[in-house]
Amino acid sequence: MDALSQAAAAALSIDALLATATGTVVGLIFGSIPGLTFSMALALLVPFTFGMEPTPALAMLLGTYVGGMTGGSVSSILLGIPGTPSSAATVFDGHPMAQRGEASVALGTAVVASTFGGLFSLVVMMLLLEQVAAFAIAFGPAEIFALVLFGLSTICGLAERSIVRGLVAGTLGLMLMVIGLDDLDGVPRLTFGTVPLQQGVNLLVAMIGMFAVPHVISVFIEHGQVEPTPIPDAVRARLPSFGQIKERLWLMLRCAGIGTGIGAIPGTGGPIAAFLAYDHARRFSRHPERFGTGELSGVVAPETANNAVTGGTLIPLLSLGIPGDPATAVILGGLLLHGLQPGPMLFRTHLSAIYALYIAVAIAYVVILIAQLWGIRMFVRVLRVPRHLLAVCIIVLCVLGSYAIRNSIFDVYLMGVMGLFGYVLLRVRIPIAPVVLGLVLGETLEHQYRTALILSEGSHRIFVSSAPAVIFLSLTALTIGWQIWSALRTRFRA
C-alpha cells in the first residue's frame, strides 16, 4: 500500500502529468505522419529526459509509445496511408468509411477501440507481471541465456519474411555490441586504441541513427518526385453510438486478448496483432462480405488489437528484461538510463516505480481520448507540414540528441555512420529491428553464457541441466526450424 501511494504521488505530480501528456501528444503526432515511427520519436525523446526525475521521464516515454501506437489510425483513415505499420489493417475499412463521408465516426471509433485495447492490456499486464517475475527470479545464468536466445530467435525469425536475413541482422547487432570494454575481463575489444570506443557503441546513439537517418534520406529522395496526398479540410472525431459499441463489445474483448497475447511474444508486435484481429473479425462476422467496404468492425478489430499490444510487450520487458520490439528496446534504454534494471528483481527493488508506470500508461490513454476527440484538427494540420521540412528538423534533433547523451561529438559522428549503415541494410532488405535488439540483448546473452560456463567449469551440459533452459532452447530450435521448414515448403511449391 505504501508503494502504491508513493507511486500515485509520483505519477500524479504536475511534472509527471505534463510529461505524460507531452509524450502522448508527441507519439500521436509521430504516429499520425506516415513514415515517422514512434520508435524514432522515442529515440529522439530519450536525450530530452536526461534532466528529469525517473517517473516523469519514463511516463513521457511510455506516453509516446502508447500515443504512437494510436496515432497511426489518423492517416490510415483520412489518407488511406498507414501512419504506422500497426495501423495498416485499419486502412481496409477506415479509409472507405472516410470516402463515404464517415471519417468522424471512423476516427472516434478508432480512439475508443484503442483506449479499450490499451486499458485491457494494462489490466492483464498488472495481473501477470508479478507472476512472471516471481517465476523468473529463480533463473540462473543458463536459464537467462536460453531465454534471451529464444527472444532473439523469435525477433530474427519474425522480423522479416526471410529468416536468414533476420539472423544476419541479429548477428550484426551482436557484433556491434562486442565493440568496447569487455565487462567480465576488462579487456578492450576492437577499439583500436580509441578511447571513446571503449564505452562501446551507445545503444541510444545507434537507435537514433538507425531509425531516423534512413527515414530522412528516403524523404530527401522522394522530395519533388512524389505528389503529396490531398488532405481533407474539415475533420472532427465523433464518438460511436452506445449501440455500435455494445454490438462489438465481445469482438473488442477477443481482439484485446489477441493483441495482448501477441504483444507478449517478442518479435511479433502491432502489425501482426492487427492483421490477425482483422482476419478474426472477418471470419467470425455474420457479414464478412462487408469487410473492405467500410465496415465499422474492420476499424474496431485492428485498433483494439494493436493497442492491446502495448501492455503485452511490457510484460517480458519489465519482468524479464526482454524487449519485444524496437520501441520497447528504446524504453529499456530509458529505464536503464534512469537506474531501473528491468527483470525479476525490479519488483523487489523498485515496486513503487512499476506502479507509477501503470498509472502513467492509464493517464496516457485518457490523454489520447481527450487529444484525439478534441484535438484531431491539430493532427490534420501536422499532416500538412511538408515532409522535407520535418526531415530537416529531424536531422538537427538527431545531432543534438546524440550529442546530449554523453556530451560527446564522437557519438554524433557514430550516429551518422550508424544511420548510413541502417540505410544500406534497408536497401538490401535486411531488417533493422533485429540489429537493434541484438545490440540491446547481446550484452546479457554473452555475459550469461560466459558466467554459466565459468560456473560449470567449461561444461556445456549446464544449458540442459534445468527444465526452463531446456524448454527455452527447444523453443529456439523450434522457432528457427519452423521458419526454415516454411521457407523450404514455399520454395518447393513455387
Binding site: G51, M175, V187, L190, V396, L400, N407, L453, A487, L488
Partner: protein
Amino acid sequence: MQLNRVDRWLGPCLALTALVWLWLCYAYIPGARSEGEPGPRAFPVLLGIVLAGLGLAIAVSAFAGSGSTAAESTEAWTRREARIVAATFALLMLYPFLLDKLGFLIATPVAVLLALHGILRVRSWLASFALAAGLTSACWLFFVLLLKAPLPRGAWFL
C-alpha cells in the same frame, strides 16, 4: 533489380566481412586465461563464424538461382539516390565538425541551410532563413534554457 542479383554480392560481402572480423578478433582480442573458461574472444569468434555461414548460405542460394526471395525485387540505385545519400552523409559528418569548432549557434543554421539548398535544392532563401533561425532558437530554448543541457560553444571561440 531482382533480389537474387543483390544476394549474389550480398552473400560474398557478408562472408568477407566475417573473415575480416575473425582476423581482427584473433589479432586484437586476447583469448581465455585458463582452460575451460570462455575468454573475451570466444563470443566474437562465434559471431564471426555464424555470419560467415549465413553469408555463404545467401550466396549459394543466390548463385543456385533457388533463393527463397528470388521472385522479389528491390529498386536499383539511381545516380540521384547515390548523390542524396552521399550528400546527407557528408552533412551528418560536417554538422558535428562545425558544432565542435564553431558552436551550436552557428553550426545549426549553417547545417539547415546546407540541407535545404545543398541537398533539397529549395529555392526560397527567405523561408530557409526563417526555418534556420526558428529551429536554432527553438532548440536553444529547449535544450539550454529548459533542459539545462550544455551545447557546444565552439572550440575556435574558447
